[in-house]
Structure formats: C-alpha cells, structure tokens
Amino acid sequence: MANNITLTIDGHQVTVDHGTSILDAAKKINIKIPTLCHHEDLCVAGNCRICVVEQVGKQTLTASCATPADNGMIILTSSPKIRRARKDIMALLVSEHNTQCTTCYRSTNCELQILSAEYNVDNSIYMSVLKDGDCKIDKASWSVEKDNSKCIRCQRCVRTCAEIQHVNALAVTERGKDMKISTFMHLPMNEIVCTNCGQCITHCPTGALTERRYYDEIWAAIDDPKKHVIINTAPAVRVALGEMLGYPVGTRVTGKMVTALKQMGFNSVLDTDFTADLTIIEEGTELLGRLKDALVHKKQVSLPMITSCSPGWIKFIEHMYPEHLGHLSSCKSPQQMFGALAKTYYAEKMGIDPASIVSVAAMPCAAKKFEANRPEMRDSGFQDIDAGLTTRELGYMIKQSGLNFQDLENNSFDTIMGESTGAAVIFGATGGVMEAALRTAYFLITGRNVPFENLNIMPVRGLEGIKAASIKFEKCLPEYSFLEGVEAKVAIAHGLKNARVIMDQIVAGTSPYHFVEVMACPGGCIGGGGQPIPTTNEIRQKRIDATYAEDMGKPIRMSHENPEVAQIYAEYLKVPLGEKSHHLLHTKYRKRNRY
C-alpha cells in the first residue's frame, strides 16, 4: 500500500503511506512538532503528550506521534489551544524535575531543557512534586548512573532495553504519583541483569541516565607528577568526538584529538587500534585452530566461534546463555589487551615502573568501564586499565582544558603501541571485526588478498541487523590444505536482540556459521552507549562512512602488516596463542544468573 493517505496539515495537503503517523506526515512538509517520548529507534509510546495537535472535529487533542494519518484528516499543529496545552505539559514535567541545569551532565544536550526554554517554562508555574526518594542517585554500577530526580518517565530507556537489547533491566514500576522507572525489586544497578551497554543513556532525553564519570580522577592523575598517564583511544571515538566539539556528524578528528590529548598532559597518546590488530592475529589463530581441530582431528569444538570485543555482549551471554560460553573467543577485548601490555611490555620498553602508570581508555562504550573493573582484568599484576572514558567524557575534558579544538594542528599517535592499520580502524563499525579478520585470515590461508575490490568486503557492511556471508578458500597454502574448498560461513549481529537470534540458533543446534561477530550496540561501536547523543540510524551511517573513509586513507589496511604487531611478536610475545599471549591477552568468562 503505497502513498494512499491524503490529509491536510496547517492548510497544506500532504500524501503519505498508509500507517504514517501525523508527526511524520508533518515532518514531510517541514513542520516540526516537539517530541520527548518519541525516538525513531523505538516503538511508539505516546505518553509524554507534548506532540499534541488539533484534529478538527475532535473534542480532545491528538498525540501526533501515536496517531496514524487518515484520509481527510484536517490537522492544526499550532493554535492557542495547542500552545497552552504544550506549555502546561512542559510546566508539569519541570515541576517533577530536579532542575539542576547548572551542574547537570546533560545541560545543553537535554531535550527537556531545550523545550522548556522554547516554551518559556520554569519551575515557578506549578509547585514542585519532586519526591525526596527520587533524589538518591544510584551510583552502584561501574558503568551506568541512574538519577530518578531527572527522569521524565518517557520510558525510552525501558523500550530501548526491551526492544533493542532484549535485556529488560529497566521497567516501569509503581503507579500514579509514585510511578517510576526502576529495576527488578528496586535493586541497585550493579545487582541486576544489566549488560552495561549504555544504550539507555544514549536514548535518555535528560540527565536521568548517564555514564559513571571518571574525569576528575584522571585530571588528578595528570596533575600528579609521579604518575605516567597514558591513554588509548578506540577507533569509534575519532569519528564521533567531533560531534561534541561543534563539528558536523561524520567528521574525522583523529589528528586534532591526538594533539589535544597531548596538550592536556597525557604522557603518551596511543592507539587502541594497535591491540585491535593484535586481536585479529590472536583471534584469527584461535579460529584456525578450532577449524583444524574440527576438520583434521575430528574433535568436538565449539563452533561457531564468536568475537569477544564487546563487553556488553560478554555480560549478555554470561547472563543469558551461561551454558554456551565455549563459543566465545578467549581473546580479551582490544582495550584489555592494551591494558595488560601497557603495564608489562610498554613499561619494560619505556623503562617505567608499571606501578606509576595510570592507563586510561577512551571508548565509545559504557560497558568498558565495567570491563576495566572485572577482577579477571589484572593480568599485568595491576589493574590493567585504570579508567575508561566515554567519547562524551573525553569531549567534556577537552572543553574543560580550554583548548580551541578546531584550531589545533593534526598530530600522530605516539609510539610504541600507537601504530594501526585500516583493518583496526573498521573495528568501530558493525561487520568491521569480521572484515578485518577475513582480510588477514584469507591472506594467511591462501597467500593472496581477499577477492574483493580494494579489500572492501561489502557483504559484511551495513546496518542490517544480522548479516550473513560466506567465503570459499581455494588454492590454500600447504599448511592450510585442510581448508581447501571449504566455504567459511560467517554472520554479523549488532544489537543484543539480534545476538539473541544467533544464540538461539546455536542452542537449537541449527547455526550454520563458523565465525560470528557480535556487537552489543546497534551499528557497532560507532553507535555505542558512550557516544555523543543523539544517535539515530542516519547518524550511525555517517559515523560508519567516516570509519570506512579513515580505513581507505590508511597506508596499511591489513592487521598482519602492522609493523608494531610484528615487532611485539618478535620481541615479546613470540607466537600467537603462545604462553605470554595466554597470560596477558586471553581471559575466561563466568556463568551469571538470569535474574
């Protein structure tokens, strides 16, 4: 049913597809209707009521987000009645809100603040109905802070957790004046089944859900002359950080970011990409080993093997599929490989006491904060990563430092552990780890480059929820002759809802795949829970485009060609999956409860 509804909005005729909301129909003719509970990633809620419009012939106003356009409808989007009603709704929301705008982390990026300014509403119109109990901030989680006093009950977080992630950590509880968003049995955020993915944060219109912030501790470390503070920055940060600093979405700011970090006082500015390349070598070797065990030694091995870079995904599988942890690659995430090497290899090479190193990770992620604090992640003898920062926190730190970011010159990462390839860069986008792995694996197996133009493996790219592809190995090198003629089947899932589909296939014994990439967040890390707000599919696509552009601009585009990776094997790790690797770069997972 195409283009079959015609209605009139503010005197303009507009024709839209059957099922289009009045809100979207208005958008089509450039009429902006304010929204709060609406988010294009999520199902319709229709509960904030700010989007009300007048439908001629109806006694009450109509929520435009929740009402499908119908033939012959006559809609007004601006009238005295609507303005009064919207102003009242804003005033009510503000009366329930803890208006701490001067210190609020989401100030200037808050949908409630923007609309209350537009409607000229403050908290003097109605009396405050803010509850004392709501003002206690839940800071129990390493990753997510929950402040009910800033919550407008739009349920975007609830829908995000249910629809995108299938986790349901957050839910509506109580009724009437006591209605609030809470957790199972009102438990603190660290005691519930939460993957720490932070998607609730990026979908929250206000400061009710934020990441736990560490920048004060990092400033303190920088200011301490006895500390050697290093930072590694993830590939998805450089394509999104610009959004925090006044650039259009999709601007790459890698060089300026490096300069800024150096000027802020980090002793060494390094690249998580280095350990992303290392991940490819370790994980690729692990996969080839499993395939060999299965095909040559006819052993029972867990296939498909699934990537382990995404800590939100790891916690998800630990909670939801604890019997199937064997499918996970034992590789640590690039952040944690970096952390373990920073306080061993880096410290040795640079002649620095590892006890004085403060290792910071700048990540597009909220779950990385939890990951850094996992008790497993102390293989260097210290806490491998001392603090995880989100892209947002990094943006704020740059602002706090007073640097005029746009005027900074470009700089390149320090060495050692600062060299990267295009393959590592694309880790940030969904399908990127798979593409990087295939580039290297195909080369190792056949001695030739992947049979795709410019090494761009298009079938694994894009925003489709689950992507499947296959690649056939022919004319293999002698040591990989067991793979001759084998068609490797791979799949990529992003968003935990899609990961669940992959896992349910595995549980049912019907999974056709050898290797699967899973990222907890839609779009992969570029859409991570630590990225600038808002994130929508259009924004995800722009960040993805920037990621692939960065890849194309790199002189080296395959992980096994990274000279620093070759160097670390020669000098330190010796061989992939060797003893040192096992100790520093691999980890174990734990079974967790489903409740």
Binding site: N47, C48, T60
Partner: protein, 386 residues
Amino acid sequence: MTQKPKKVDIIFSPYSVAPYQILKDTMKRSKEEVIAELVSSGLRGRGGAGFPTGMKWKFATEQKGSVKYVICNADEGEPGTFKDRKLLMSVPRKVISGMAICAWVTGSTEGFIYLRREYKYLVNDLQKEIDIFKQHSKEVGLNFNLQIFLGAGAYVCGEETALIESMEGKRGEPRNKPPYPIQDGFLGKPTVVNNVETFASASMVCRIGATEYKKFGTADQRGSKLFSISGDSPKEGVFELELGMSVEAFANEFGDGDTKAVQVGGVAGFCVPRKDFAKAIIGDGNTTGGSTMIFNSSRSMYRVLHNYLDFYAEESCGQCTPCRIGCQQLLKGIEAVKKGEKPAEYLDQLLKLSESMRLTSKCGLGQSVTNSFSSIVTNFREEMIF
C-alpha cells in the same frame, strides 16, 4: 412540581421460565435481525462512555478473522458504584446470556468475565452459573468457552485497553487509540468489551424487543439504568430507574431533604450543586456509569474534592504526563490554597490546568478529572478557600 423518578423492573425482573431461553429464542432469528434490534433499541454502553452497543457489535461482526473475543468488564471500580456486583449476584444468567448472544452474533468462541479482585467471593457462584450455561450452549450447538479472569485491583483497568493489557499479563496501562479493541484487542484480535449491565440489558432487549425497550427513557437515553445510590441518603442501594430524570427529582426521592450537591457518574462525573438541580438531567453527556453520591449541607466540598484527587493521584497509571503530574498538582494546589500558601487566584490556574488535562490525557481517566474538579471548584469556590 417535579416528576418522581420512575422505577422500572426490566433488568432485575425474574428469569424466563427455562434457563437460557432468551439465548435459545434469539438464536432462532437471523444475526442481522438481532443486530438491527439492538441498534434500534438505542441501548448505549452502561460503563460510562455510552457507545451504542448495537453499533459496536455490528463493527465486530464486520471484522475479518476467525478469532474474536468477548469480554465482560466487571472491573467495577468507580467510587460509588456497586450495581454490577448486585447484578452478578442476583441475575448473572442475564449477563451470560448477553455475552453468549454477542458471541453468537459476532462469531466469537472465547469469552472472559474480567472480575475485579475485590469481588473474588462471587467466583464460586458465577462459575456454577457458567457450568449451567455450558450445558445449555451445548444443547443449542453454541461453541463459546467462557472463563472468569480476576483483575489485580487497579482502577485504570476498568478502561478497556488497560483491561486488555492486564489480561495479556502486562502493566495495566491504556493503549493508544486507534486502533480500538474492536479492531485490535486482546492478543491483537477483534474484541468486544462491554460492561456487565450492558450485556444484561442487551439480553433484555432481545427478550422484550426494541419497541418495548424504547418506551423507557428519552430520545437520547433509551431504556432503564441501574443507579448505585450512596451518601447522605436514607435509602441507599441499587435502583433500576428510567433514564431522563432531573437531579431535582432524584434528590427529592433519594436525598435526606438537606441535599447540597449530587455527584453524578462517580468521581469521573460531574458534581451538580443545588442551584442547578432543576435543569440537570441525569444521563446527559453520556455519564451513564450509574454512580450517584448525595451530599448534604454537613459535607465539606473541599474534603470531597480532596478525596477525589487523592484517589486520582494514586490510581492514575502514571504513564502520561498530564494525568500523572496534573493530578498531583491539583491535589497539592487545593491544599496550598486552603492553607493560604497560594492565593485564591491559583484556583483559576488549576482550572486551566484541568482543561489541559482534559485535552491532552491519553485515556478517559485523565480526561475526566476536570469534570469533578471544575464543577466543584466553580460551584463551591468559597469552600475551597475558607
């Protein structure tokens, strides 16, 4: 001289001689004829919204698909109503007959009586009646599986889409409309939701015919209606009265001679002050829920309103902004005016707020707060302030 309210004896009349004879007789007619009879009777939903019952059933028959549901809304939660309880206790057969006729007409094979949890003690007797019904439905070859579903005690679940959500195991929160239950109801299937009294009345329309039924009431409000009468009345209880009487006639009959105001239609309805008794007709504006509370001159209308708002602030489901916060603001607001913390003019702002709540709330709950609020604040303003 005002007319006295006319007592009627349709709904509570004795059963026909043989059990489920109405159903059996009705099933001998054509479905179209039965619907036409209902439409012609002018019967409107007795839950409060007053949608024409015949039309609702007609829409249901027109819905495609083999699975349809019939739900009897027995979540009688409006403060001051207890007529559905009386109905289910004394003439449950009429309710079940109405549901069975609806099922037969619309082609539904599954039905539920959504009984409010507080009426749990009715379950045994009701189930016995359902068992009797099953024997008779087998006799006439009607495949209609009827079950009792116990609610969990939320007022808002009397709203039909919240009721359906709660039956599906979710939070009792009203849905966005459209789609209406008749298109997309329980488990996404076409669903007829009617009040207990509506089903009983529908079966009585089938028994006595539309022509006879239409003789009662006014052009707008046909037939008889059960009223739950409470408050300052020497003869409170459930009464079946002809529709179309004035509040004056009602107060003269049921009041204690000192009636100051009558709350018509429960807390969701209007409060009529003595000066308006003569011109106010009970049932106008579709407030046919049947709850009527009588207040005499010893009552503080501030306390009455406070009680209502307290109830609303608790019983709102909390999902939509105007209802969740608006109810709290109205309550806090009248308290502040009473204590002198806010000037009397603040009441005018609250009146505007209640109008915004009417315009923007998601369901009937938030939309109807303004009815009692504005009628009490406007008519008894001095009681709010002093």
